[in-house]
Amino acid sequence: MGWERLPVDLHTPDAKSPYGTVDIETRGPYWDKPIRLTSRPDSSSSGTTTSMVGSASFSWVNNFSISYLEKSDWQIHISRGDWATRSKKHTPISPSCFSDSLSEADSLRGVRRSEIRYRDHDPGVLPFADVKATGLSRVYETRKRKYGIGSQTISRINAVVDLELEIEQGELFGLLGPNGAGKTTTVKMLCTLLTPTRGNASIRGLDIVKDANKVRKIVNMVAGGERMLYYRLTGRENLRYFAELYDVSNSIVRKRVQQVLDLVGLADRADDEVEKYSKGMKQRLQIARGMINDPQVLFLDEPTLGLDVDIAKDLRAFIRKQLVEEQGKTALLTTHYLAEAEEMCDRVSFIFKGKIVSTGTPAELSRLTVPTITAELILSDVKDADIQQFASDTGLKIKSIEVVEDDPSKSKKRVLIENASEDTIRTVFEHFHSRGARVVSAALKQPSLEDAYLELVRTQAKPS
């Protein structure tokens, strides 16, 4: 998942009595010290399970056990409580699980250094939800009167419908959808700019409605376009102003402002008025503004909107590497650009007409919705009928045949074959080459997030 790795020292005194000590060294806002957990036999269970004896100061650890799976494998389970238990909020704990299998031989050496990673295949179990939404909905009501008088008509738009969302700590999560799908409305609700019509959402266990002011301290939002900055102020003045509004400690304001300016590469233009900045610089300053309160959760609402390709690329790299991987920020990204989401996001949700229709890693979504690999061939001097005949002889499924538009002679055809492999290309090449036709190019096309997205939009747009 790439969100964190937990180096572990496992001490197991006896292979058949799987209890010992686990030292966990992690980084993050809540556990910057090493943790030592000791397991002991659990009298209530069958001998192969142990229960947790953990340090009380690390209350996020909800449960800990070492399981003896088979003769050669141990499995460590560390379940963590919601962080809100730290603040005595008594919110329900959703158990989270980390696991790793260690060989018995390694364990018997006494110390085994390993890495515990979140298991991708553990469905429905998230280590640490930073952002959580349950049944989140938003209805917009528009009231109109004809000529300003007369009876009132109310039109309702369901912008977001029963949205379920969990974003882990340190995860870059993408929310993709067409215009009007509800992406921005979702972001605005999560960062307290809009009140949900119904449903709940929390940021680090804080309710976005009841604890709105506390939420505002730990989140920030960066929107695309040229907004959210004072053009008559300099970049530094803008950041200083927002630092004051976020009540950043006086002793570190100057340092923080310089840090974020350095981070976005605007230190040398910091004292110019924002109106003199280029579009890319304004956008980078927006990111700096979004970082000024050192937010734990950052909402990025189409941050590369309208930027040049090279600037957008730099910005994407910056968000992914600096903000998420190095600083461990949790981020929710909304975007129209599917390649962007594919490149940047750990997981992605497709949202359509206010409903989330699919969630997974970009690779998972691509495979789930468009499971086939397509061969794209450009053939020259060949008739459609020959292609169809070839398909029926070989059992290949032709997806489409079309004339290549930019070919002046119009003799080239683009042929898409579904469920293709390298053998397919070889077969096509041999078949047509022997018949005097020319295979101009051939390529296997992996399903992309864009294919998946288009497929989903097509499916969802169909009347039920």
Partner: protein, 272 residues
Amino acid sequence: MSFFRVLRAEFLKYFVQQFVTFRTAFWFLILPFANGLLFYSMYLPFSNRLVPLNALGFSVAVDIVGFTLIGQLLYTFFVGMSVAGVQFDNERSQGTFEAMLLTPASRMAIMLGVLFAAAAQYLWLIIGAVITFLIFFRLPIILNDPSALVLSVFLTYTALVSLGICLEAVFIHTRRGVMLGTMLQEPIAFVSGTILPSSAFPPFLLQITYLIPLTLGLISVRLILLAGATLGDVLLPVFGLLAMTLVLPLLGKWLISHAEASAKAQGTVGLF
């Protein structure tokens, strides 16, 4: 502490935005004197004419230039508050409103910061105009109780700032701040007695005008400066101003929190 930090940040932002260049600052500095000259040319035909000032048991004829000047200056201040009142609309139109609402900063501190900044700006306009008048007109000022004058001006100031808070709260919700702010200016100038003596109004209108801080401030300052009234004479409007100073901010605080919650519920915060 954070309340005052936000207030200071808003105050500074207002001034930096207003006087981004030396040229703007220069024109700002000389504007009050130009205003004074404008007033002078306007009021010169009426010089040495008298107007009745009947209020709080006083019934005196005072110089029309002094009468109008005080009205004009306090009205200028009211306009300043009205303009500051559309602060959130300005933020909305320049796209910074959401960034502001994203922060946990006190909304009251934000409003007060802008209002104090606007008040400071208009205070200079007033001082400049007064200096000009003192040079060109020999106003028949009868000041018997300077402390009453200071108190009256101060309370008029605070009551108008408080009114500004209420206006801001209303404007954020209606999203027609600029329009409403402009619409309010002329009727208030009329009914508060800025130009016409309020005794000229029908009784029912007169009672309503007492709900406007500007009216009470005008009565109080005019009587102190032009009729030689003391604090004892103007206790009624002074208490009125004090009450407004205390009540209006609370009302404004409630209104602004209600307006923000309501705008977020209706989805009208970011729409413009």
